[in-house]
Symmetry: C2
């Protein structure tokens, strides 16, 4: 009758949520059973329900935790008066890259499995993301107006930036080629070139 061991600062629910993120990422939300999760945690399936109320709740936890992390960082950037538009975009790209490197399980689940969120969470989530994208576009458009950023289609640029970092998923599988730092520098350089005035 082994208890779920929980780190000092994390509740047992957090342990389960992180295990869920790992499995949801590997096998997908639908294909991950509560019995799989139970094995991963080292417990019987029914025991999980002492800590969570449903499988869906785990997905909500993961998706909104990640979404809030990104939104909070964007808030900071918008309020930061030391950086110009291009520097803000670069810093946001770097933040995305680091999230994809350090918290790949949760980030991938948020990207790939959020469609399985129940209402009203799904609608809320999609709205939050739409707003996030709009705010990024606004930063770029302001940069263009101020003459700091090349004249580009802000919409297409944001689409490109946010998706480009997804390549990191494959880097994780075959690490050796290149270090995290090299990868970050290379990606940033690649993505920023299209925005810089010549």
């Amino acid at each position: 009758m082994a208890r779920i061991r929980s780190k000092k600062n994390g509740s047992r629910k957090d342990v389960i949520t992180l295990a869920a993120a790992k499995l949801f990422r590997e096998k997908g939300f639908s294909a991950t059973g509560m019995r799989d999760l139970a094995v991963e945690v080292g417990v019987e399936a029914a025991s999980l329900y002492n800590h969570i109320s449903s499988k869906s709740e785990l997905l909500q936890e993961i998706c909104f935790r990640v979404a809030n992390t990104f939104t909070t960082h964007l808030n900071d950037m918008e309020l930061n008066e030391k950086l110009d538009s291009l520097e803000k975009i670069e810093e946001i790209i770097r933040f995305h890259i680091r999230m994809w490197i350090e918290r790949i399980d949760e980030v991938l689940v948020t990207n790939n499995e959020s469609k399985y969120l129940n209402e009203p969470y799904l609608t809320t989530f999609l709205n939050e993301r739409r707003i996030y994208v709009k705010r990024l576009e606004a930063i770029i458009e302001l940069g263009i107006k101020k003459g700091i950023i090349r004249k580009v289609q802000a919409y297409a640029v944001v689409l490109t930036l946010m998706s480009a970092v997804r390549g990191i998923e494959f880097w994780h599988r075959t690490k050796k080629n290149i270090s995290a730092e090299e990868l970050e520098e290379s990606m940033v350089m690649n993505l920023i070139s299209g925005l810089q005035k010549t």
Copy 2:
């Protein structure tokens, strides 16, 4: 007792496969039931088995059809002697973009659901993709050696290029902003800038 209507050039199996691509894309492979697919096709679930041998076979069909399309185009590029390295990469990017625009269902399933392929198909598929990436890297590295392409980390560039186009998924959901042609030009410009010598 409605029969599956098949276009002149497509077998009934093709009709089922395309319907499967649509559903696998929308709901995911695991969450799509054979009864869902049957409704989409307009038939009873058991009837599908007169045309296919299993749910897995449908996924194989979709993934390898897409993979072969990309590989065939890459073959053409490698043999094309009229284009230099940078032009080849640009043409490959354009091909990816058009595939994401015109055959989004199949392409998305190939990207997101291929992990559900059974062995030995999964291994074969992953190998094919690894080789595809290597060949792209080789084109870039040759371009660098010939002084046509800026000195970049070929590995990171290919990762970026192949993932960036995934943003098109979101464009599909909210079309009006920008036309397919504008999107293609904007993306190509953005992605090629990082490779061009200044």
